[in-house]
């Protein structure tokens, strides 16, 4: 395939950050169609507009998700990218890989595709960028038969779930995010590959309120680890922090001189609930007042640990702006045990209840958070058969426009106007 001049893209080869242009050029030496990727991108830099056509539905037999169709609007000029479909491959939990697995996947992708990838897409899957329609089935065959791996989700279905690294390498994880993510992904393969929902649906699993996979902002059901007993304190380690022998915040601020560590200023005064104090050289916490924001634990990881009675908070309804504006997810279940021992029974029951309701009342292209907003939180919790509790809100309503119902008012709504008029002349 022809090599194209890329004077604009070439300027992205300077500077200290790794350059995708350099990488693509190198790959083009063995995969000439990558020259066409560069050529078309260069033209976009010149024209300042995309040169991909809208959509086009492609896929593999029996699947409604996992592949995003894409065609160039200049196929004669750039034949190597005439078809440029994306394949989403389900990523292993927390994105750990063996090199054997990665090498094999790269072999397959060089054989069937453009050799260009994203590690990873924003939702979490491995993204293989650019192949022709006729390569899809052979690739899928090899992926499943030779590697035992599978596609992820796209379209109006359950998107490939994702998790933070959890207990595998984080001392703060309050449940096994990897196992929960893996088990639920397997359980819902049908929902991932065969769109049946009004619109996309995402679960994300974070092990603690630091929320490293951004569950609260990006997932329809956010499972965020928490605890309900006391923060575990090692008073000897607290003293070491005060003495300056352990670096605060795990050393995260070591690049600048912030002065000597001051437990009063950096921990106690910043606690949002003001529930900590020093007494006789020991750090005290009134745990009943703690909202488990993680600040003190982040600052002194060797002295403080989440409590031992661990589980997760379940929040519902996050989404990006389109259509009705961005939403964070709303706290619905403050505490739930999330355990493989009972196959995530409680969580599964909750998820399926949300789905049953949303699939019935959700409009086309309406995320569950938008459906919740349309019907209102009181209605949502009623259909979920959950008791209202103050933890669900930031503050009570300030308008007095309450929707009372017929049954709630003595005597009901049915009244007799004639009888009323006999007592109150018009």
């Amino acid at each position: 395939m022809a090599k194209h001049e890329t004077p604009l893209l070439d300027q992205l080869e300077t500077g200290p950050w790794p350059s995708f242009v350099t990488d693509l050029k190198k790959q083009a030496e063995t995969k000439p169609e990558v020259y066409d990727i560069l050529g078309q991108l260069e033209l976009s830099y010149k024209d300042r507009i995309t040169h991909w056509k809208h959509g086009g539905i492609v896929g593999v037999f029996g699947y409604g998700g996992g592949i995003v169709g894409r065609y160039s609007d200049l196929p004669e000029k750039f034949p190597g990218v005439e078809h440029f479909h994306t394949i989403r491959v389900a990523q292993p939990a927390s994105k750990y890989y063996s090199t054997a697995n990665l090498r094999k996947l790269m072999d397959l992708w060089e054989k069937h595709g453009s050799a260009v990838t994203n590690f990873h897409g924003s939702t979490g899957d491995i993204i293989l960028l650019g192949t022709r329609t006729e390569n899809l089935e052979p690739f899928f065959w090899d992926l499943t038969h030779e590697m035992g791996q599978d596609l992820g989700g796209s379209g109006s279905n359950l998107r490939t779930p994702a998790c933070c690294l959890g207990q595998s390498r984080c001392e703060w994880a309050c449940y096994d995010t990897q196992e929960a993510c893996y088990q639920l992904t397997l359980k819902y393969q049908d929902e991932i590959h065969r769109p049946a929902f009004p619109y996309k649906f995402k679960f994300k699993f974070s092990g603690c309120p630091n929320d490293c996979v951004a569950a609260i902002a990006r997932s329809d059901i956010s499972v965020i680890g928490t605890w309900r007993d006391e923060i575990r304190i090692d008073q000897a380690a607290v003293k070491e922090y005060i003495a300056g022998n352990y670096p605060a915040n795990g050393g995260a601020h070591s690049g600048r001189d912030w002065g000597k560590f001051d437990i009063q200023k950096e921990v106690i005064d910043l606690c949002p609930t003001q529930c900590m104090w020093m007494e006789g050289g020991e750090l005290k916490i009134d745990d009943k007042e703690c909202t488990r924001c993680m600040h003190c634990i982040n600052v002194m990881p060797r002295a403080l640990r989440p409590g031992a009675d661990q589980g997760a908070s379940i929040l519902v309804g996050a989404k990006a702006p389109i259509l009705e504006g961005a939403q964070m997810s709303t706290l619905i279940i403050p505490f739930m045990k999330v355990s493989a021992d009972n196959e995530y029974e409680e969580l599964v029951e909750f998820i399926e209840k949300v789905w049953d309701w949303w699939m019935e009342v959700g409009k086309n292209r309406e995320r569950v958070g938008e459906t919740m907003q349309r019907v209102g939180l009181p209605t949502f919790i009623k259909v979920m058969e959950i008791e209202p509790i103050p933890q669900m809100i930031k503050e009570p309503r300030s308008n007095p426009y309450v929707f009372w119902s017929d049954e709630e008012v003595p005597g009901g709504f049915e009244r007799d106007i004639d009888e009323f008029r006999r007592r109150h002349a018009a």
Partner: protein
């Protein structure tokens, strides 16, 4: 045996799901799962986690372009084979992580990475700027208002020292999405780079009948700006749509539903900057990012206006914020009027909300600060 097009369903395997994660975990990770006690960042880009068994794992975090090739991944595998028993991981922000089980294996790994030019920058930990999560842009998507990999490269080149050091008051997360769909979920990042369109869709009457379901196109508009209409094509009257321009907020949703309504445009398209979002529940609640710069042009290939604006915001924050304070927490403490002044950003009516629930963001108090805005 491979795929047989004559018998596509024979021997078919489906719904295998992802491979089990455990087989990919380095031994030290597998053996100490759930037993980690604490961690420390021993130098920028290098984490140490300590287990209750006494084991340690050292993690070296490395920036990547996210848009990477098979060849690149193979090079990464070579490094992992040589130093990490053939294991590695990726982070949600597109960094690579190489893990080793003892301290003396760290320096050889760092030397190896350094020997490969600027391909494997070590950093992205603690109170600095880590890798930018971003979307596809002109390399793959049909709706972008800007490119993704290019602006990210330009911004990271400029902020490189903040990637390799930990000198900021807290971590700063930057994200880029090339259209309002926000695959990159930039609506909750400290600094968000967002591709926006500024011209309403054109209507391709010649094609609309073939490629669009009109009721879907009409229903797609969150503002009801798309209306049924008629047009004449080759002397024949056809059913089509029109757009009430005053109502359009350029979201592109109609184009997503109907390819005959393109809105991308070299002059119309560009980048908006939003700031002050966060996801973590630490100290303050998670927050959305707020729009502070409504438009910057797509000046390819290096987007100088965008790079400069971000640098200015970051430096004002670095100078002024308190230890542990995220960008949004800082802006709320000093007040947004001071934010605009300190970052030297002109305030325009575009930063005043006029969408749904706008009233919630208007100031209903006499508490304000006297800044240069009051003439």
């Amino acid at each position: 045996m491979g795929y047989n097009p004559d018998k596509p369903m024979e021997g078919r395997l489906t719904d295998l799901g992802p491979p089990h994660y455990e087989q990919f975990m380095p031994p030290v990770i597998k053996e100490n799962k759930g037993k980690w006690l604490w961690h420390e960042i021993v130098q920028p880009g290098v984490l140490m986690h300590k287990s209750e068994t006494g084991d340690e794992v050292y993690t070296v975090r490395v920036g990547s372009a996210r848009l990477v090739t098979c060849q690149f991944i193979r090079e990464v595998c070579d490094i992992a084979d040589k130093h990490c028993d053939g294991y590695l991981r990726f982070t949600t922000r597109n960094n690579l992580e190489f893990m080793v089980d003892s301290k003396d294996k760290v320096q050889p790994l760092l030397d190896e990475l350094a020997s490969r030019g600027n391909r494997f920058p070590v950093g992205g930990t603690g109170a600095g700027v880590t890798n930018i999560v971003h979307t596809q842009g002109w390399i793959h998507c049909h709706t972008p208002a800007t490119d993704a990999s290019g602006p990210v490269k330009a911004v990271m080149d400029e902020l490189f020292d903040y990637f390799t050091s930990m000198t900021l008051p807290a971590q700063v997360r930057i994200a880029l999405a090339c259209c309002l769909n926000m695959c990159g979920a930039v609506h909750a990042s400290d600094i968000a780079i967002l591709g926006i369109h500024r011209k309403p869709p054109m209507i391709d009457h010649n094609r609309i009948t073939g490629v669009c379901e009109l009721p879907l196109a009409i229903a797609s508009c969150p503002l009801g700006a798309v209306k049924p209409a008629k047009a004449e094509i080759d002397g024949k009257e056809i059913k089509t749509v029109k757009v009430t321009v005053e109502r359009c907020m350029f979201c592109g949703n109609c184009y997503t539903m109907c390819p005959a309504m393109p809105l991308a445009d070299p002059e119309g398209d560009g980048i908006a900057i939003l700031v002050g979002g966060k996801i973590s529940n630490r100290i303050s609640h998670p927050k959305f990012s707020k729009l502070v710069i409504p438009f910057l042009p797509n000046n390819t290939p290096r987007w100088p206006e965008v790079v400069e604006a971000i640098k200015k915001i970051l430096e004002a924050y670095a100078k002024d914020a308190k230890k542990y304070e995220r960008v949004g927490e800082w802006a709320e403490r000093i007040g947004w009027e001071s934010f605009f002044e300190k970052c030297d950003i002109p305030f325009t009516e575009k930063s005043i909300d006029d969408y749904r629930l706008a009233y919630d963001t208007w100031r209903t108090s006499t508490q304000f600060k006297f800044t240069s805005h009051i003439k």
